[in-house]
Symmetry: C2
Subunit: 193 residues, 2 copies
């Protein structure tokens, strides 16, 4: 099948935090639950009403969104622009790969503090594909592809990694730096090259 | 000549302000001069020791760099990320093309205020080429080219405009959003496609 016509809806991630259950309870209280603010596009995931303040010696963000449910490890996904304002230099990684080394972040919730060492990443550009869509478009898990975005600030994103899961929704994920650099907003689609 | 081997040093512009002489004097005083902090790469241009606070109803930057010397018209060049934090939506334009419409910015200096309407732009990606380099590489003024940047966040920038002037220094100019989105720092070069 020609890839000429394969367009993928673009979704833009702003900085957000995934929390372990232990850290969630430390920040929000022993028996605290997460409260849904709105679902995000990947099934079962949601933004919580709760937010966390994250700070370093150099800077801070007062209301960082949490994406639930809880995960095995706490991870802060941020942009390079965010990282500069915090004075940190996190690695580029796939969401879910949590570096154990790195600068210390202070997470502050209404009930407590967490000192997190090395949990920050800049997320690698990626495609979410369901097992079915991956088969349909000839994409394999962890394959690296290129995506073109048109427009007055258009171009090509290289090194886009394919992630496959039965429940994933077809989407091309960028962070706000990447979206801003390419003038992406609203219902933009990327073309698989 | 093959373009395979044409590499252009990348230079990254953070938000900055060009001021008319009238506005400079209003902000810094009737007889105030500009004081050099450091030269920038394009000959005759420099960052001043003086800075300006710029604000909108929604946000502000306390110490915006001025790039001198004075120009016929005041212009604020910022990133899309900056624009979002100020709550404004400036057009993408070539530096020097000043929109007369747009949201109002308040510029504040030690001696006065300027209310600026419509002077903000997001700068279009561009190449600076001397007349000699333009001839050498077969580039014409206002031609649109594509530039590839390699690396783990690499890709291709399209819609790059060529600017030619006898005094220009060979450089590919991006803003901080574009540089952050592509993981560009230090001595990176782009390849003309």
């Amino acid at each position: 099948m020609s890839k000429k016509g394969i367009f993928i809806p673009i979704e833009v991630s702003a900085r957000h935090l995934h929390l372990s259950a232990a850290h969630y309870n430390k920040l929000f209280g022993e028996k605290a639950k997460m409260h849904l603010l709105r679902p995000v596009s990947q099934p079962g995931q949601f933004v919580t009403r709760e937010t966390v303040a994250i700070s370093t010696k150099k800077g801070s963000f007062s209301q960082v969104r949490i994406v639930g449910p809880c995960r095995p490890q706490t991870q802060f996904e941020l942009t390079k622009t965010d990282a500069r304002s915090l004075g940190i230099d996190p690695p580029l990684k796939r969401s879910g790969l949590v570096p154990q080394q790195g600068e210390t972040l202070i997470l502050k919730g209404p009930q407590g503090l967490v000192r997190l060492r090395g949990g920050a990443i800049i997320a690698q550009r990626h495609i979410h594909a369901s097992t079915q869509d991956a088969r349909k478009y000839g994409l394999k898990k962890n394959k690296i592809v290129r995506i073109e975005v048109s427009g007055e600030r258009g171009g090509v994103f290289e090194n886009v990694i394919v992630r496959v899961h039965p429940k994933f929704k077809w989407a091309f994920h960028l962070d706000t730096d990447e979206a801003n650099a390419f003038g992406i907003s609203g219902n933009t689609k990327g073309r698989l090259l």
